[in-house]
């Protein structure tokens, strides 16, 4: 659940930015001849509603109905007493608490006479909610409008960019402040890292660790004891006001590994996409002489997902927008060890 700082700051997220987002979505709705638009949210898939309203539920779920005109309606099963709090941290839209949000949405759709209703990620929309809406608003047709939403959202606006950079700073600073090389207790290291991020105002913080970079294996949760190898890595994912970034660093205990890792880190810090350059090309260029690139992926917000793979070494992911900030995850083979890192790249900023 989200249990860190949740507060709205008009400087960081001006109402005008949200109104502009709403106008962009409505323009797409007009092109697609949609009478209304529905976006689902919960803590795992909160990015769509957060982009529209500035709000992520700390728990439970909700639905935003964007009518053709008027304020968006946020219907949630969170309790009635929480509505006042939601309104204080949700700068756009009206809040209605109800045990059955989809029934309320259906009622609104029926009242408005809406027929063509766009849904973000219809395939992944909760089936029970869809059935309730279709039963309560006969004549309504649910249409997958994921592409329309993506088009409205294309190009990260300055407000979201600012929040992304703040999330990134929290992730980076929490890692930078660690005396990691001397650490013996992985759990204590994770705790210190998380405390730093939360004291800085992180809304949420997920930390995973790769305890031994001398062996195969991925980033693990710190929910059981781990023993550090001679090199290890920490990956910090931070949400700030509903917007996510990640940072990961590798740490070597021996001088040779420390030197090789420092070289890789310096190269990674220099990475920027040249005009027309691919990510694979840029990675090969900056890491030439450091080590062999074994794997990489780029992540950006997509639909209801706060971060989703949009480009990868195997070419499976798609949808990358090179003009907007993105998280780049990299794995190199360095001095007989794996070197894992992640950082935010913010083109044009």
């Amino acid at each position: 659940m989200r249990r860190g700082l949740m507060a709205w700051d008009a400087q960081e997220l001006p109402r005008a930015a949200l109104e502009d987002r709403l106008s962009r979505l409505r323009a797409r709705m007009g092109e697609e001849k949609l009478d209304a638009f529905i976006v689902y949210t919960n803590i795992a898939r909160g990015a769509g509603v957060c982009w529209l309203t500035g709000f992520t539920p700390y728990w439970n779920e909700g639905l935003v109905l964007v009518p053709a005109q008027g304020a968006p309606l946020f219907a949630t099963a969170l309790s009635k007493r929480v509505a006042e709090w939601i309104a204080s941290v949700m700068p756009q839209g009206e809040v209605v608490t109800t045990p059955k949000p989809p029934a309320l949405i259906a009622e609104q759709l029926a009242k408005s006479g809406a027929v063509r209703v766009g849904v973000l990620e219809l395939d992944g929309f909760p089936a029970g909610h869809a059935q309730t809406i279709l039963a309560g608003a006969p004549g309504v047709e649910l249409i997958d409008a994921t592409a329309a939403f993506a088009a409205a959202r294309a190009g990260m606006d300055p407000a979201e960019r600012g929040l992304t950079l703040r999330a990134d700073a929290l992730a980076r600073e929490s890692l930078a402040s660690l005396a990691a090389e001397a650490a013996l207790d992985p759990l204590a290291l994770v705790a210190a890292c998380e405390q730093g991020a939360r004291l800085g105002g992180a809304e949420e913080c997920f930390i995973t660790l790769a305890p031994d970079l001398g062996k195969p294996g991925g980033f693990l949760r710190a929910d059981r004891p781990h023993a550090f190898g001679s090199a290890f890595a920490l990956r910090v994912s931070v949400a700030y006001k509903g917007v996510w970034s990640r940072s990961a660093r590798s740490f070597g205990k021996e001088p040779a590994a420390q030197a090789a890792f420092a070289q890789a880190e310096a190269a990674f810090a220099r990475l920027a996409l040249g005009p027309g350059e691919t990510l694979a090309g840029a990675l090969a260029r900056v890491f030439a002489g450091c080590g062999q690139v074994k794997d990489w992926s780029a992540e950006q917000p997509r639909g209801s997902y706060p971060l989703a793979a949009v480009a990868s070494a195997d070419g499976a992911a798609e949808g990358f927008d090179p003009a907007s900030p993105f998280v780049l995850n990299v794995e190199l083979e360095v001095a007989g060890l794996r070197w894992r890192a992640a950082r935010l790249l913010a083109p044009g900023g």
Binding site: R81, D123, A127, R198, C205
Partner: protein, 367 residues
């Protein structure tokens, strides 16, 4: 969890599938509703979404749409087959299609992806609640051991919370300290909300940056988990010395919680426990504050989900069963002092219940 404990859980699931005549069970989850996946394949999903396809012999496939989660699942050495499925719904549907003419059940049914049940070839999938819900509510002894450990962590966490609460600190700084403590104990998740202030406070929410000052009541519910199992504690503290109204109000909540816990035993309904708590409020002329205007529930079940059935409400006729783990918390708004909380986790037993929380039932005072 230990191999033996997980095997016991797999056995219980297989038995329930057999009893309901189900050949294939589809379980869906994400970081909000992680319980079904955790039960069947022992994976605590953090990002993205996942689907487990479980066979009666205990074998399973776990489909995950997040590549890092997939890598983690593989590194954790799960006993099931782990599949990276960026097109989660399409992959699951294809696998169900290939499974032939079988009886398929799925849960949690209302949250299943729409695309799974609809499209070119609609699949016939039954609601699997009957199979899973009872297992989630009524725990095996191995599961109860995890809840018991989580309750100990909740006690330890509240001691940290008390030490962290002092005038001048921001509410989210307290959370930062608690979370750091829990990470050192290997607790990956904690359900926690907080209230800071006086009569104007009507409930708890995530922290908003309030600064603690003398006279404030600070309410919280801490819900750490161990091996995926949650236990909760609710307590209230006062910054400085509690005033007479706060002490008086607290005594009502204490009496209500004790009455609720005294009523809790196998065979009684959730409604009976709620009534016992609410009768105390009614006795003091505070009956209005037991309604949904002021409070959500008078307690609830806990396990792999921190807020599971049964809800402790006067209209919930679910009988309590031995092995259920619930929290009894008469949390509500008090017209004189504001929102106040007090609650202990218990295990329902035949003839009574076993209290899991050791933190004194006091209105604490911090300087």
């Amino acid at each position: 969890m230990t191999t033996a404990a997980f095997a016991a859980r797999q056995g219980a699931l297989a038995e329930a599938m057999k009893r309901e005549g189900v050949d294939l069970l589809l379980l869906f989850g994400n970081n909000w509703h992680a319980d079904h996946l955790r039960y069947a394949v022992d994976f605590g999903i953090q990002e993205g979404q996942g689907i487990a396809l479980v066979h009666p012999d205990g074998s399973a496939s776990l489909l995950l749409d997040d590549p890092a989660e997939c890598e983690r699942a593989r590194s954790e050495g799960l006993s099931c087959d782990v599949v990276f499925a960026p097109a989660l719904v399409r992959e699951a549907k294809a696998r169900l299609g290939r499974s032939g003419n079988r009886t398929i059940a799925a849960a949690p049914f209302h949250l299943l992806p729409y695309g799974l049940l609809h499209g070119d070839s609609d699949l016939r999938v039954n609601d699997g609640a009957k199979i899973v819900e009872r297992l989630l509510m009524t725990k095996l002894e191995a599961e109860i051991a995890c809840v018991r450990r989580a309750a100990q962590l909740a006690d330890e966490g509240y001691a940290v919370f008390r030490a962290a609460a002092r005038p001048g600190r921001k509410d989210y700084e307290l959370i930062a300290e608690i979370e750091a403590f829990f990470r050192t104990k290997g607790v990956p998740e904690n359900f926690m909300i907080i209230g800071v202030g006086g009569q104007e406070v009507r409930g708890m929410a995530p922290p908003g940056g309030k600064i603690l000052k003398a006279g404030d009541m600070v309410t919280t519910e801490l819900t750490p988990c161990f091996e995926g199992y949650y236990a909760q504690i609710c307590r209230t503290l006062v910054v400085g010395e509690a005033n007479e109204a706060q002490k008086r109000a607290f005594n009502v909540y204490l009496e209500a919680m004790v009455a609720g816990i005294a009523t809790t035993k196998a065979g009684v309904t959730a409604a009976s426990v709620a009534k016992a708590e609410n009768d105390v409020f009614r006795k003091y002329g505070l009956g209005e504050y037991t309604t949904s205007e002021y409070t959500r529930v008078r307690g609830h079940g806990m396990g792999l989900f921190p807020d599971q059935k049964p809800q402790i409400l006067e209209d919930v006729e679910i009988p309590l069963q031995a092995g259920m783990t619930i929290i009894v918390h008469p949390n509500t708004y008090h017209p004189e002092v504001g929102y106040l909380v007090l609650g202990d986790s218990v295990i329902v037993r035949e003839g009574g219940c076993e209290n899991l929380c050791g933190t004194p039932r006091e209105l604490f005072s911090v300087q």
